[in-house]
C-alpha cells in the first residue's frame, strides 16, 4: 500500500474537474433478462422437455399439412384397397373401407388436438374468472363457490360427461367440448383462487384500489394476468388428460361419430380387427401416446423452469 504511489506520473489534465453529475436518477439499471427469457433459458437446458416441445411442433405441422401430402381424402371409400398394410402408396396402409390411414390419422389428429386445446382453454378461462372473483371478493361468496366446487368435484367427472353427452346428444365436436368445459373448470378455479389470495395482498393491487379501480378491472387486469404464468404448467399438464378423455369417450361410443375421424375413433374402429390388422390400431395409439407424453414432459420442464428455487 505504501509503495503504490512511489512513482506515479501524472498527466497535465489529470486533476481537471469533470462536469458535476446530473441530479436526476435517469440511468437504466442493468438491462436484466426478463422473467420469461430466464424461464426459456432454463427450459431449453432441459433436453427432454425441449425435444418434446419440438415433437409437439412437428405433430402440429403434420396435423395441418399431413392430409395434403397425398392424393387421398379421409372419407372416400376405396373397395379396391381394403385393409392394405403400410406401403408406398398408402404410407400407413388403409382401413376396412379402403380409406387412407395416413390421411385419417392427421385428419383425426386435427380433431383430437382441436378438442384438446379448446377443452383445456375454455374451462381454464371460466375457472380463472370464477376463481378470480371468488378469491378477490372472499367472504360468503367465496365460501359458497368453494363449497359448490367441493360438492361437484366429489363426483367423478366421467359421470357428468356421460350424462351431458346423453342430454346434448353425442357425436358433434361442439358437444364434446361443451361437456368437457362444464366439468373441467373446477380445478382451474380452485388453483386460480389460491394464487389470487396471494397476489391480492400485494401493494400493486392496493394501488389499483386506491386509484378507484372496479373489482372487474382488478381481477382482469391485475390478478388474472399475474396468475397466468404459474397456471401455464397446469394448463399444459391438463392437455394430455383431455386427449385421453376424448379418446376414451370416442372409444366407448360417446365421442365423435364416423366418418369423422379422431384418434379415439380410429382406435375404436381398429380395435375390432386388431388381431388381423394390428397396424390400424397401433398407429393411432402411438399418436395418442406420443402427444400425451410430450405435453406431460413439456409441462414438467415448464414447472422446473418456473420454479425460482430450482433455477440457478
Amino acid at each position: 500500500m505504501e509503495n503504490a504511489k512511489e512513482k506515479m506520473i501524472f498527466q497535465a489534465d489529470d486533476f481537471d474537474r469533470l462536469p458535476p453529475p446530473s441530479q436526476t436518477d435517469a440511468a437504466i439499471a442493468r438491462k436484466q433478462t426478463t422473467y420469461w427469457k430466464d424461464v426459456w433459458r432454463t427450459f431449453k437446458k432441459n433436453r427432454t422437455a425441449a425435444v418434446s416441445l419440438a415433437v409437439i411442433f412437428l405433430l402440429i405441422l403434420l396435423v395441418v399439412f399431413g392430409p395434403m401430402m397425398n392424393e387421398f381424402d379421409y372419407r372416400t371409400n376405396d373397395y379396391s384397397a381394403l385393409n392394405q398394410s403400410p406401403n408406398a402408396v398408402h404410407w400407413f396402409g388403409t382401413d376396412n373401407m379402403g380409406r387412407d390411414i395416413w390421411t385419417r390419422i392427421w385428419e383425426g389428429g386435427r380433431i383430437s388436438l382441436l378438442i384438446a386445446v379448446l377443452a383445456t382453454l375454455i374451462p381454464e378461462v371460466i375457472g380463472m374468472i370464477i376463481g378470480g372473483v371468488s378469491g378477490y371478493f372472499g367472504g360468503w361468496l367465496d365460501t359458497l363457490i368453494m363449497r359448490f366446487i367441493d360438492v361437484l368435484m366429489g363426483i367423478p367427472s366421467l359421470i357428468y360427461m356421460i350424462l351431458l353427452m346423453l342430454v346434448f346428444g353425442s357425436g358433434s365436436i361442439m358437444t364434446l367440448i361443451v361437456a368437457m368445459s362444464l366439468t373441467g373448470w373446477m380445478g382451474s378455479a380452485r388453483a386460480t383462487r389460491g394464487l389470487v389470495l396471494q397476489i391480492k395482498a400485494r401493494d400493486f393491487v392496493t394501488a389499483s384500489e386506491t386509484l378507484g379501480a372496479s373489482p372487474w378491472w382488478i381481477i382482469v387486469k391485475r390478478l388474472i394476468p399475474n396468475t397466468l404464468g404459474i397456471r401455464v404448467v397446469g394448463i399444459t399438464m391438463s392437455i394430455p388428460s383431455v386427449i385421453f378423455y376424448e379418446a376414451f369417450l370416442s372409444y366407448i361410443g360417446l365421442g365423435v361419430t364416423p366418418p369423422t375421424p379422431s384418434w379415439g375413433q380410429l382406435i375404436k374402429a381398429a380395435g375390432e380387427n386388431f388381431r388381423y390388422y394390428p397396424y390400424q390400431f397401433i398407429i393411432p395409439c402411438v399418436m395418442v401416446g406420443i402427444t400425451m407424453l410430450c405435453f406431460n414432459l413439456v409441462g414438467d420442464g415448464l414447472r422446473d423452469a418456473l420454479d425460482p428455487k430450482l433455477r440457478g
Binding site: 486533476f15 474537474r17 469533470l18 441530479q23
Partner: protein, 343 residues
C-alpha cells in the same frame, strides 16, 4: 500494536450469473484487532455481506467463487480450510448474528435447547453442564426470566428477545469474532437501542471482537472503534471512528454522512443527496466506481482508482485522488463541506 485476530488480504469474490460474472468483492483488505468493534458500512450490493460470508465459508459454492486473497484467522487461512475444519470454527471461534432471527431459529425447538445444542456440538460436556452454560449466557445478555424463556419456542418470543437468543447462541462458545450482519435493522428503534447497549456491554464482559455490518451511520457511531466504508466492492475509506466521522476524506463517506439527516439538526433547504446510483458490478467502470456520482470527480478518476492512500492519522486511509500527495501539493486538502475540521 494490537493483536490482529482476523486479517483479510486482497479478497476477490465473484458470482456467476446468466448475465455475466458479478464482481462482488474487488480486492478488499481489512483486519480486526482483539477486543475491538469494527464496522463495515455501505449500501446494499456494495459487497459487505459477501465479504463476511466468504470469510465464514458461507457462500454458496455453486456460483460464488473466491478468486483471490487470504483470510488469516488464528494463524490459519480460513479460505483454504476443508469444510469440516470450517464447521469446527463456525459457531465456536467465529459466529454470526443475522438481521432476521426468525428465519435463523428452528421454529419447532425450544430456544434453550437450540442454545445448548450449539455448545454441545463444540464441547464434550454433559447436557446439564451445557444447560447451565446457556443459562449463564442468557443472564449475561440480560434476557428476562431466562429459566422460563429457555422453555419457549421462537414464535412465543418478541422480536427483541429473539435477537437476544440469537446473540446468546452466537456467544455461548465465547468466539474470538462475532460477525453481526445488520443486527438491528429489522428492530424498532427502542428495541434497537436495547440491543446496541447489550452489544456494547459485551465488549467489556467478554474478549470477543465484533464486526458490525450495517448501512446505518448512527448505529456505527454508537458502537465501533474502527470503520471501513465500502462502495461497489471496494473499501474506499478506513480509519478510527473519530477520524472517519469528524475528518473523513472520501467524497462517498461525505455523501453517506450528509444524506442521513441528523436528529439534532434541521435542514430547512434540500437534503443532501448523492445523485445517481451505484454501478453495475458485472461491468464496473474502469476508474473510480464513485466518479459518476462524485461532485469532485476529475479526469484521472475515470481512468484509474488509487490504492488506499495513508493519511496523517494512524490507520486512516482513503482511496481517492483528492488525498494523493501530488494533488494536495497543488490544491491543498479538500474537506467535507460545511463541516470543517472537527466541526
Amino acid at each position: 500494536m494490537a493483536e490482529k485476530i482476523l486479517d483479510v488480504k486482497n479478497l476477490v469474490v465473484t458470482f456467476d450469473t446468466y448475465q455475466g460474472s458479478v464482481q462482488a468483492v474487488r480486492d478488499v483488505s481489512f483486519h480486526v484487532n482483539k477486543r475491538e468493534t469494527v464496522g463495515i458500512v455501505g449500501e446494499s450490493g456494495c459487497g459487505k455481506s459477501v465479504t463476511i460470508r466468504t470469510v465464514m465459508g458461507l457462500n454458496p459454492k455453486s456460483n460464488g467463487s473466491v478468486k483471490g486473497g487470504q483470510a488469516f484467522f488464528e494463524g490459519r487461512d480460513v479460505l483454504r480450510l476443508s469444510e469440516k475444519e470450517i464447521r469446527d470454527i463456525l459457531g465456536n471461534r467465529m459466529s454470526m448474528i443475522f438481521q432476521d432471527p426468525f428465519t435463523f431459529l428452528n421454529p419447532t425447538m425450544q430456544v434453550g435447547k437450540q442454545i445448548t445444542e450449539v455448545y454441545l456440538r463444540h464441547h464434550k460436556v454433559s447436557r446439564k453442564e451445557a444447560e447451565e452454560k446457556a443459562l449463564s449466557i442468557l443472564r449475561l445478555i440480560s434476557l428476562p426470566n431466562p429459566e422460563q424463556n429457555m422453555k419457549r419456542y421462537p414464535h412465543q418470543l418478541s422480536g427483541g428477545m429473539r435477537q437476544r437468543v440469537m446473540i446468546a447462541m452466537a456467544l455461548i462458545c465465547e468466539p474470538a469474532v462475532l460477525f453481526a450482519d445488520e443486527p438491528t435493522t429489522a428492530l424498532d428503534v427502542t428495541i434497537q437501542a436495547q440491543i446496541i447497549d447489550l452489544m456494547n456491554s459485551l465488549k467489556e464482559k467478554t474478549d470477543t471482537s465484533i464486526v458490525l455490518i450495517t448501512h446505518d451511520m448512527g448505529v456505527v457511531a454508537k458502537m465501533v472503534d474502527r470503520l471501513y466504508v465500502m462502495y461497489a466492492g471496494k473499501i474506499v475509506e478506513q480509519g478510527d471512528a473519530d477520524a472517519m466521522f469528524h475528518r473523513p476524506r472520501h467524497p462517498y463517506t461525505w455523501g453517506l454522512l450528509d444524506s442521513v439527516p441528523r436528529l439534532d439538526e434541521r435542514t430547512k433547504e434540500e437534503l443532501h443527496s448523492i445523485p445517481g446510483m451505484p454501478p453495475d458490478l458485472i461491468a464496473p467502470p474502469e476508474g473510480c466506481p464513485f466518479a459518476a456520482r462524485c461532485r469532485y470527480a476529475m479526469k484521472i478518476c475515470q481512468r484509474q482508482m488509487p490504492d488506499a492512500i495513508p493519511l496523517e492519522e494512524e490507520g486512516h486511509a482513503a482511496a481517492c485522488w483528492l488525498c494523493h500527495p501530488e494533488y494536495v501539493k497543488q490544491y491543498g486538502v479538500t474537506r467535507r463541506e460545511g463541516k470543517e475540521n472537527g466541526q
